[in-house]
């Protein structure tokens, strides 16, 4: 997974609470065979409404989602995270996330930032007034910065370390490459192989 150190981009203010994963990506998208291509399914029902914030031309290319409390509740589908990432989001800010969604997001390198609701409110006001306003999410200093706003956030050390270094479970295992190689070197020759060598 991609390392996350610091990211600056325009934001989408999503003034809704309790956005569940069925709203993020509806069930009929789960038949797909890839982790890519979920961008059109993101908030599919809402996007049919021309006035929905994501449909506004000035939001195109935005990379930070600023959502209401309890974002990502409901089904555990990892597809919700993939859909947000496929669409281009790098970070989601909310005052509260559902646990499983948060776990899935950190595993996939989508940074979920918890800020107090009053700071979320100021981010909403700022980005609604000025769609070009940029928001910086800095994982090194654990700060969110925008015009007139500087707020610190918490993230456990292990998750932070993994995100800063871009380490997923596989990367962590691969840090033990020497152990794996040593094991492979002493595997007996009679063990079967599926391919001719």
């Amino acid at each position: 997974m991609e390392a996350f150190t610091t990211h600056t981009g325009r934001a989408v203010p999503l003034r809704r609470s309790n956005v569940d994963t069925d709203q993020i990506i509806p069930a009929h998208w789960l038949k797909k065979v890839t982790r890519d291509g979920f961008e059109d399914g993101l908030f599919e029902a809402w996007r049919k409404d021309g006035t929905f914030v994501l449909n506004q031309p000035e939001r195109e290319g935005a990379t930070v989602l600023v959502a209401g409390p309890d974002f990502g509740t409901g089904s555990s589908r990892e597809h919700a995270v993939w859909a947000l990432q496929n669409y281009g989001f790098k970070a989601v800010i909310s005052s509260r996330f559902a646990d499983i969604f948060r776990g899935n997001s950190l595993k996939n390198g989508l940074l979920t930032v918890v800020l107090e609701q009053k700071i979320v409110d100021s981010l909403w006001e700022l980005t609604e007034k000025d769609p070009q306003a940029e928001v910086t999410v800095d994982l090194e200093t654990r700060q969110v910065r925008a015009e007139g706003i500087t707020a610190s956030f918490e993230l456990d050390e292990n998750s932070r370390w993994r995100l800063l270094n871009g380490l997923d479970d596989i990367s962590i295992t691969l840090q033990n490459e020497a152990d794996i190689a040593a094991y492979e070197a002493k595997r007996p020759s009679y063990k079967p192989r599926t391919l001719p060598v």
Partner: protein, 474 residues
């Protein structure tokens, strides 16, 4: 203190062990099929990774493949896309694939052993719960999820917490007409569908030692239906004889070295299991399920149980719901249950021995009027072997349909399904609601009971056939 078989195999695969972390285990063989691999390959692609050990990886197509007209394009678009995706991924990453139409294609758990790729003392994984089948050779074989499939593709290892061990000792000898399928159904009915949770089961004892490799695979296959992580049987001469000469079995000096190692793969006399169950083989008889989980089974000679007879409230409720779904009455003799369909196949009972057993009983007899019988070999090779023995002719003459290899009606992902309300006697492993088609009703049986049931039109054992009128012209 001595170690159990499972502990020995586990210890031999630990790449890294650290306090407070799961062990990192090396995986000797990774089997792939079309349903659970696409997102794993996609993950590799996104992170720019390769398959670490192409030489320990093999793929086949089974869940979605049709069993008729296999040379025509696949009608169902979702199935077609899944198969095409596997073909694309295998080509891109360089994975050996046996696609539909290939002589080595078939249900993934039939293909591994028949190629000789599944051997004693190995760790085998696949994104499929019935991977436990491979434990019949005395290895540790686990079903895994898609994210773990990606992990194994990229690293050839898996971080895993050490499971507990349970001994299932089967004393004595299976009576005539009682098969491995009857034994495992009886074991699951005894310990329950959650009885094996957190355990690796080791089947042992005189009755197990007498079983063929195919029968052992039937037993280990269904370990998962008892909730276990895996099932295994210590390798012995039967195992070695089965393997010798298979395409991927060791040869020459390697064979000798391998056998010397395999012989050490036995639970030590002073080893301790975390749990033990003892079964007396002599008390067993043909066994069938009446409910909607594999633990809801009874001897064929019994009646459908009365839910009121269960002391446990949740079991009572489960039995009530099962009888309602299955359309059965408490107290009705199991033998009186009429079926519409008989399915012989799957990774539980789709091997050559199973087809021989069914054909033996069908020879010179006819499938009852109004009953449809489907015979689906577990792999293309099993199909060819059956044809070379003339079994396909026996099936066709009896009025059964002889099909191409695949999972087929085991889970009805392809067109082979039950219609709502239809009832089957099936040699597969799951009788869940809707498993074989929406509203379909499944009775799990052995191939022998399947064949007898096909002839008589109701659940029956081979012994019941002797009373059947002799077929005309024989």
């Amino acid at each position: 203190m001595g170690r159990t078989l499972a502990e020995k195999v586990w210890d031999d695969h630990v790449v890294r062990r650290a306090e407070g972390e799961p062990d990192l285990l090396f995986i000797d063989l990774h089997l792939l099929h079309e349903v659970t691999s696409p997102q794993a390959f996609d993950g590799l692609r996104k992170s720019g990774r390769k398959v670490r050990r192409l030489d320990l990886t093999i793929a086949t197509e089974d869940h979605n493949t049709p069993t008729l007209d296999i040379d025509k394009p696949i009608a169902d678009p979702v199935s077609r896309v899944q198969l095409e995706t596997l073909r694309k991924n295998a080509a891109e990453f360089g994975v050996r694939l046996h696609p539909l139409g290939d002589v080595e294609q078939g249900v993934v758990h039939v293909v591994g052993p028949q190629l000789g790729l599944t051997q004693p003392g190995m760790t085998v994984v696949c994104g499929d719960s019935h991977t436990s089948t491979h434990g019949a050779f005395g290895g540790l074989a686990f079903g895994i999820g898609t994210s773990q499939v990606e992990h194994v593709l990229a690293t050839q290892t898996l971080p895993m917490a050490r499971p507990k061990t349970m001994a299932i000792t089967v004393n004595g000898e299976l009576p005539d007409g009682v098969t491995a399928k009857d034994l495992i159904l009886a074991i699951i009915a005894r310990i329950g569908t959650g009885g094996g949770q957190g355990y690796v089961l080791e089947y042992r004892g005189p009755a197990i030692e007498k079983l063929s490799m195919e029968a052992r695979m039937t037993i280990c296959n269904m370990s998962i239906e008892a909730g276990a992580r895996a099932g295994m049987i210590a390798p012995d001469q039967t195992t070695f004889d089965y393997l010798e000469g298979r395409p991927h079995a060791p040869k020459g000096e390697d064979w000798d070295a391998a056998v010397a190692y395999w012989k050490t793969l036995r639970t030590d006399d002073d080893a301790e299991f975390d749990a033990e169950v003892v079964i007396e083989a002599a008390e067993l008889s043909p066994f069938v399920t009446w409910g909607t989980n594999p633990g809801q089974g009874a001897p064929l000679s019994a009646d459908v149980p009365d839910p009121a007879s269960y002391e446990d409230a949740s079991e009572r409720l489960a039995a009530e719901k099962a009888l309602e779904y299955m359309g059965l009455e408490a107290g009705q003799p199991l033998r009186s249950i009429k079926v519409d369909t008989v399915f012989v196949g799957s990774c539980t009972n789709g091997r050559i021995e199973d087809l021989r057993a069914a054909a033996d009983l069908l020879k010179g007899r006819k499938v009852a009027d109004g009953v449809r019988m489907l015979v689906v070999p577990g792999s293309a090779r099993v199909g060819l072997q059956a044809v070379s023995e003339g079994l396909d002719v026996v099936f066709k003459e009896a009025g059964a349909e002889w099909r191409h290899a695949g999972c087929s009606m085991c889970l009805g992902m392809n067109p082979d399904q039950l219609a709502p309300g239809e009832r089957s006697a099936s040699t597969s492993n799951r009788n869940f609601e809707g498993r074989q088609g929406k509203g379909g009703r499944t009775h799990l049986v052995s191939p022998q009971v399947a064949a007898a049931t096909a002839v008589l039109g109701h659940l029956a054992s081979p012994a019941d056939l002797s009373d059947a009128p002799a077929p005309a012209g024989v």
